[in-house]
């Protein structure tokens, strides 16, 4: 769906040096969007006839308010596109394609662990809200560079959800010192020791949804597979069309027969089952 999203909120998220922004768009997308889906946004107000930057920017849907017809996008100013996007003012309209791709699927029962690295936290918020609404137990593991980043990137909003939160920072000033994967590993071994998860689909089943740097997604997937914990990963790739037409954004999966296949992050993803993803860069 192609719509003109009215900018109703566009503000800094936390302190300026974090270069984070919160953008709320009013439009019909909110009615159909699911957690884990994304939109492709034109970074300049539709009224500006400029071809540079040329392409839309893919941004995850961080919050969905169907009642108010609003979706929230959280983004970091990364390069030219987001830099220009950051200048768009309230009241202006942005051309938005979406909702795009397949989001996360909720487990019927049990505990949903969210594992986030850095700004990988953004798409997980909508998922947490959704999971809680469906009566699931939600637990967050979030690793970030330092306390400042985590506070600025929305910690308060997460705390407001009243769920258990396990933080990791490189300096250890907030949460544990180290990588988020270490905390996940610790808790998994605590639960299963040398064994693997057995009561699949049982009320205490644990499943994981994760988003962040590729290396982290790979590590989390390895852990989960080791303990037989189902894991969904949200991938990123450079996009052209964002609808599956250009084959620009493929990732490599391995199918049941063990053959390597390509899938489109934009259309078949961005969320995939961790065990099917081939992490080798050269694929």
């Amino acid at each position: 769906m192609l719509t003109e999203g009215l900018v109703v909120v566009h503000e800094g998220l936390g302190e300026e040096q974090q270069m984070l922004r919160r953008l709320v768009l009013k439009g019909p997308i909110a009615k159909t969007a699911k957690p884990g889906q994304f939109v492709a946004v034109q970074v300049q107000a539709s009224s500006i006839p400029s071809y540079d930057p040329l392409l839309r920017r893919p941004l995850s849907i961080a919050e969905i308010s169907p009642d108010r017809d609003e979706i929230t996008l959280l983004y970091r100013i990364q390069g030219r596109g987001t830099e220009i996007l950051a200048r768009v003012r309230c009241g202006e309209k942005l051309s938005v394609m979406g909702p795009l791709g397949n989001g996360f699927s909720l487990p019927e029962v049990g505990e949903l662990w969210l594992v986030a690295g850095g700004i990988g936290i953004f798409p997980l918020y909508a998922l947490a809200q959704n999971a809680l609404a469906h009566g699931l137990i939600v637990r967050l593991f979030w690793g970030g560079e330092n306390a400042l980043f985590i506070k600025n990137a929305g910690l308060a909003a997460w705390q407001a959800l009243g769920i258990p939160i396990h933080l990791s920072t490189l300096d250890g000033i907030l949460g544990d010192k180290g990588l988020v994967t270490e905390q996940v590993q610790g808790r998994l071994s605590q639960l299963f020791g040398q064994t693997r998860q057995t009561d699949l689909l049982g009320p205490r089943q644990i499943s994981v949804a994760t988003c962040g740097p590729k290396k982290m997604l790979q590590a989390v997937t390895k852990l989960c597979m080791h303990f037989a914990v189902p894991v969904q990963v949200s991938l990123e790739e450079r996009m052209g069309c964002a609808v599956g037409a250009c084959l620009g954004c493929v990732c490599t999966l391995i199918d049941e027969t063990g053959t390597l296949i390509h899938r489109k992050v934009c259309q078949d993803g961005p969320v995939f089952r961790g065990e099917e993803v081939v992490w080798d860069e050269s694929c």
Partner: protein, 306 residues
């Protein structure tokens, strides 16, 4: 004033209107259906296929450049057999003209694919990509040497009863020479242009941005080169031309008609605006009305007469 006649003839194919979409940018037709109804289009050109399945290049496959896009998909496609089984049957149901696009790495490749596609397949035409610059050596040779171009077009022409559209590479010294070669080979129409060979470097990683090092440059940045080539070929060769290269607005499209294109095709422009084909169609109509032209066919080559 009676409504503008948008229909046109291209290589014996009657088209509802002269707005097509480019191979490799429009998948196999369905992907954009939610944004642009197929029945509104004059036709679509399918992703290039090869005899054998190809996984294509590694990622990154795309890099944005000023007003342009570099791509190095590497001709990923299901291969001829899969295509015939799972896609070709659908072609008849498509509410628009469907043009298949074939690529190969040997004369035999092209012939094998041409034989597989005949009029009874429901396809409107066969676009022969002799110019995909993404795959190392791939196609390039055919696309830059007039002799081989003529040879491959002639072989394809002999192998199918479908109209043949030769898609030319802009990475040549003499585009007119290539067009003449395609004509000698028996091409019924020409597609101009494919992408310009380019590259960009990630200065932080200090290595090429695309996994394939080189990529094909498309988008508004190349439009002046595309218009120039359409103009030159239109002056020298008597074949209908499908103009493409950076078309994003109706003004861009009109530029190609005036330069001598019989139809135009939209590629990267769909990424910018998935409704570009619709808006362009409207714009062309409005332009013809404003200038009192009964048919879009009256636009073709008009600027040469100035």
């Amino acid at each position: 004033m009676s409504p503008v006649d948008l229909s046109t003839m291209l290589a014996g194919i009657k088209l509802r209107n002269p707005v097509l979409t480019c191979s490799g940018t429009y998948g196999f037709g369905e992907e954009y259906a939610a944004y642009c109804p197929l029945e509104a289009l004059g036709g679509i050109t399918l992703k290039g296929i090869t005899p054998l399945p190809r996984l294509g290049n590694s990622v990154p496959r795309l890099a944005e450049t000023p007003a342009g896009l570099l791509n190095a998909v590497g001709l990923e496609n299901p291969g001829l057999e899969q295509f015939i089984i799972s896609y070709l049957p659908k072609v008849r149901e498509m509410p628009t003209a469907v043009i298949a696009n074939i690529s190969g790495f040997s004369l035999e490749d092209y012939v094998q694919m041409a034989e597989a596609f005949q009029v009874n397949s429901g396809l409107a035409a066969l676009e022969v990509n002799i110019s995909c610059p993404n795959v190392k050596h791939g196609g390039m040779h055919f696309g830059t040497d007039p002799g081989s171009a003529e040879e491959v077009i002639a072989a394809v022409k002999a192998a199918t009863d479908l109209p043949i559209i030769a898609k030319l590479s802009p990475n040549v010294t003499d585009i007119v020479g290539m067009a003449r070669a395609a004509q000698r080979g028996g091409a019924d129409a020409l597609s101009l242009i494919n992408t310009l060979l380019g590259m960009s470097i990630d200065i932080e990683q200090q290595r090429p941005l695309l996994a394939n090092t080189f990529g094909g440059l498309s988008g508004p940045a190349i439009r002046p080169v595309a218009v120039r080539m359409v103009w030159q070929v239109a002056e020298a060769v008597d074949l209908p031309i499908i103009g493409m290269g950076g078309i994003t607005t109706w003004q861009d499209a009109v530029e190609f008609f005036l330069a001598g294109a019989t139809a135009i095709s939209i590629g990267t422009g769909n990424f910018v605006n998935p409704q570009a084909p619709l808006e362009i169609l409207q714009g062309i109509k409005g332009y013809c009305e404003k200038h009192g032209l009964p048919s879009v066919r009256n636009l073709v080559g008009l600027a040469h007469k100035a």
